[in-house]
């Protein structure tokens, strides 16, 4: 069997924090196969791929590409060898067209100086057509959906004749439909002889797309397996080192349900835009239950989050916290009212990358350690250490938070918000990019809060998550509430059925409750 990539005994230690991210890792990628690289957060998957792509240099070990030993010192060298990578966070210029993005740095030129737009669009459209993408070379990237932006990234690689493609968590931000389309594309690429590595930890996706699965745990390669011989349970077991199930108990009967947060016909409009982002949305979040918001991206989930968090103003309707009105309060005021909130954008909103873990943890609690304007460092340090320990976050108080893995950053945020919650707490996309164990941890925390009597609001585009965790479900479509499910109905809901509401194919007649 011809090997596209062979990595042997790769070891990589990060000097900044002395973490051995890869230890004597072997990896073989066969020509024309799709290989899923699976593992928990911090297992070393991304580091290994960064080494392959020349973004990190290994301490020891060798890499062969198509049977030839190569020293990949930079992404430029990697590109020259036909290796392409799509990062989790897209690297696109929003104000440029698709063609301009694809051809960045290798633009076709007319008369030696001017950018040849016609030729550029033709070149790129040709690649788009060959691989059946739903793109148009002349569109501005900022007008594309997330799924289309990802396609642009893939076209970028293909245009440069990459035949070894690395995709870092490609499905993290996609809807079910977009994921399906992506998988079809990837399958076609493999059939055309391209070799692909997907970093992922979604078990059913591994089953759906990969030929083989390579499992990493704590910086080591556990093994590479034929996917057909594995089921989700034993892949999970290899990743964890133990078997776990992703289930939490639903609230049997809410002990005493009090309305905590009430939305009364809330409407949100973006300036200069006709269609409201939220349209007369009414709902009540009760104590002792997890209220789930489901929807496809762009249908109002993010808006509900932003309104609850005090980031955007409403133009109509009222919001009540218990009996008191909290409509259009800013975040600081809402915090005083008892808002605790785990935002979807952990890096841009939920944390300050260059600040230390301690500084990140005390942002909503600094008053607790302040005496006459001065911060009691001893108190804040012991507070931080206590939270880190009880949430089992692998971090120390004085590390900059951007040296932590995604799962540990989320643990820090969870610890901070749960510690300060009073009677309601908002979770938005709480397990994006987290591995199974971390996700399970998040769900347990949510269930515990619910059982303690909190009103938990979960906003999530991950259907599995909504169906697993939520006691009551509200579906949003185009800013409207199109369906709601409670009790038994919610528990027995099938993915297909709720999907039809999310896509606007069906809607319930009465929209109250």
């Amino acid at each position: 069997m011809e090997l596209a990539v062979e990595m042997l005994a790769i070891t990589k230690t990060y000097p900044e924090n002395n973490i051995r991210a890869n230890e004597a890792v072997d990896l073989q990628l066969r020509k024309g196969e799709i290989l899923c690289l699976a593992g928990e957060n911090g297992a070393g998957k991304t580091t290994l791929m960064k080494v392959l792509y020349g973004m990190e240099s290994q301490d020891s070990g060798t890499i062969s590409i198509h049977g030839r030993k190569e020293s990949i010192t930079s992404p430029l060298v990697a590109k020259g060898l036909g290796i392409g990578m799509v990062h989790q966070h897209f690297m696109l210029v929003e104000e440029f067209t698709v063609a301009q993005n694809v051809l960045l740095g290798i633009e076709p030129v007319r008369f030696g100086i001017s950018y040849d737009q016609k030729k550029a669009n033709a070149l790129v459209n040709e690649v788009i057509a060959r691989h059946h993408f739903s793109l148009e070379a002349g569109t501005l990237v900022k007008d594309l959906t997330v799924g289309q932006k990802q396609q642009v990234e893939i076209v970028k690689m293909l245009y440069r004749d990459a035949d070894i493609l690395i995709l870092d968590e490609p499905t993290a931000v996609l809807t079910e439909q977009e994921i399906e389309a992506l998988f079809t594309t990837l399958r076609q690429l493999a059939n055309h002889g391209k070799s692909l590595i997907l970093i992922t930890h979604k078990l059913h996706e591994i089953k759906a797309i990969s030929d083989r699965v390579a499992v990493m745990r704590q910086g080591r390669m556990v093994g590479i397996y034929e996917t057909t011989r594995m089921d989700e349970r034993n892949i999970s077991a290899l990743m964890m080192g133990k078997t776990i199930s992703l289930e939490i108990a639903h609230a049997e009967k809410p002990q005493k349900s009090l309305p905590v947060i009430v939305f009364d016909k809330v409407t949100v409009v973006r300036r200069g835009q006709e269609r409201p982002l939220l349209n007369n949305l009414s709902f009540t979040a009760y104590s002792g239950e997890i209220l789930g918001f489901a929807g496809v991206g762009g249908n109002g989930l993010g808006v509900v989050e932003a309104v609850l968090g005090g980031f955007i103003p409403t133009v109509g309707g009222r919001i009540l916290h218990h009996e008191s009105e909290i409509t259009n309060m800013n975040t600081a005021q809402l915090r005083k009212q008892g808002l605790a909130y785990v935002p979807s954008d952990r890096l841009r909103i939920g944390s300050a990358a260059k600040a230390t873990v301690e500084e990140n943890i005390m942002v909503n609690a600094s008053h607790m350690f302040t005496r006459q304007g001065f911060i009691d460092k001893k108190k804040s340090a012991s507070f931080t250490e206590r939270l880190l320990a009880s949430y089992k976050a692998k971090a120390t108080a004085q590390m900059p938070i951007n040296t932590l893995s995604g799962g540990n950053i989320q643990k820090v945020i969870l610890a901070r918000e749960i510690e300060q919650y009073q009677d309601y707490i908002v979770f938005s996309e709480p397990t994006w990019g987290l591995d199974v164990a971390s996700s399970q941890f998040v769900y347990e925390q949510m269930a515990e809060l619910r059982d303690k009597g909190a009103a938990v609001i979960l906003i999530s585009s991950n259907l599995d998550e909504i169906l697993t965790v939520a006691d009551r479900i509200i579906v949003l479509y185009h800013g409207y509430r199109v369906a709601s499910f409670a009790g038994k109905e919610a528990r027995n809901l099938s993915k297909e059925e709720i999907g039809e509401y999310m896509l606007g194919i069906r809607r319930q007649g009465t929209l109250h409750g």
Binding site: E56, A352, A353, V363, H367, G373, T396
Partner: protein, 352 residues
Amino acid sequence: MAREKKLARKTIRTFVREGAAILLILTIALVWVIILSLLLSKTPAKTLGYFFLGPLQNTYYFGNMLNGSIPLIFGGLGVSLAMRSGNFNLGGEGQIYSGALVTTLCAISLAPLGIVGAFLALVLGALVAGALAGVSGFLRMQWNTSELITSFLLSNAVVLVVNHLISGPFLDPSTSLMATRKIPEAFRLPLLLPPSNLSMALPIAILAVVVVQLYLYKTKSGYELRMTGLNPFFAKYGGIDTRRYMVLPMVLSGALYGLGGGLAIYGTYYASIKEFSSGMGWNGLAVALIAKSKPTAVIPAALFFAYIEAGARSAMLHSDVTFEIAAIVQSIVFFLISSEVLLNLFTKRGKQ
């Protein structure tokens, strides 16, 4: 314990690495002094001797050099504080100049109050300069105007107004200088190294560094200011009143500039002389950029700037080069440090 040791070792490592980078940059700058002297001077050896050793050859030159660093320390602190909050204060020129004038005039009219009057005059000068910078912060808070532009424009206008006030209504007709009347003798700061100009303003400047450092790292307000600067979305999300930190740091920044101006009057000039502070505001900005907005690093950065200037002045007096050599060397250092290329050479290729 082991963890703390590791952290300490890591801190030392970064410290050494950054130190090595700075040393390299200084070496490059000094090599340029040599090259420029060889090119421009007929007696390069003599020029270099005066350039490097001139500022150190006697207490007069040495004291004057230290004295020259004082306004740079205040300016550097002011800019650093603003930058830490994500604000840019480009109005140092106007703030230092107006602070100095207000302090001078108040000092003259508050002479009967003695030490209290001296203190009040300084505070009033700082307040006026702080308010001047605060206007830019307020405009940003209300209408999202760029504080970088407004502070710069405002400062340019204020410099002209102060020029007019000095050469018009408040001109002291008894001297041939374009200057106001002198402040009372009793208000003048004692000299530390006579016959040089170095005054008690230097310990006050060092005290200001300590205060700013404590404010940033030990107080709640300083913490909130830094978080706002690091990530304003995060700060707002965390419940910090970010609007406050559009205005407050600008006011403090202007006040530090103004205090620098006032102390220059108390310690060195004794009267507001037309254009006396010209360039101090910009040099303060450069010092803050070299110091990477770290209050404690402002002192060495200011000393270095002052040393280069004193060296160039000495070489100019005793040899055949012009003062511009100082500006060239300062800008080389400025470019090398703010471009971060060389600094990154010493920090290993990290996560991207």
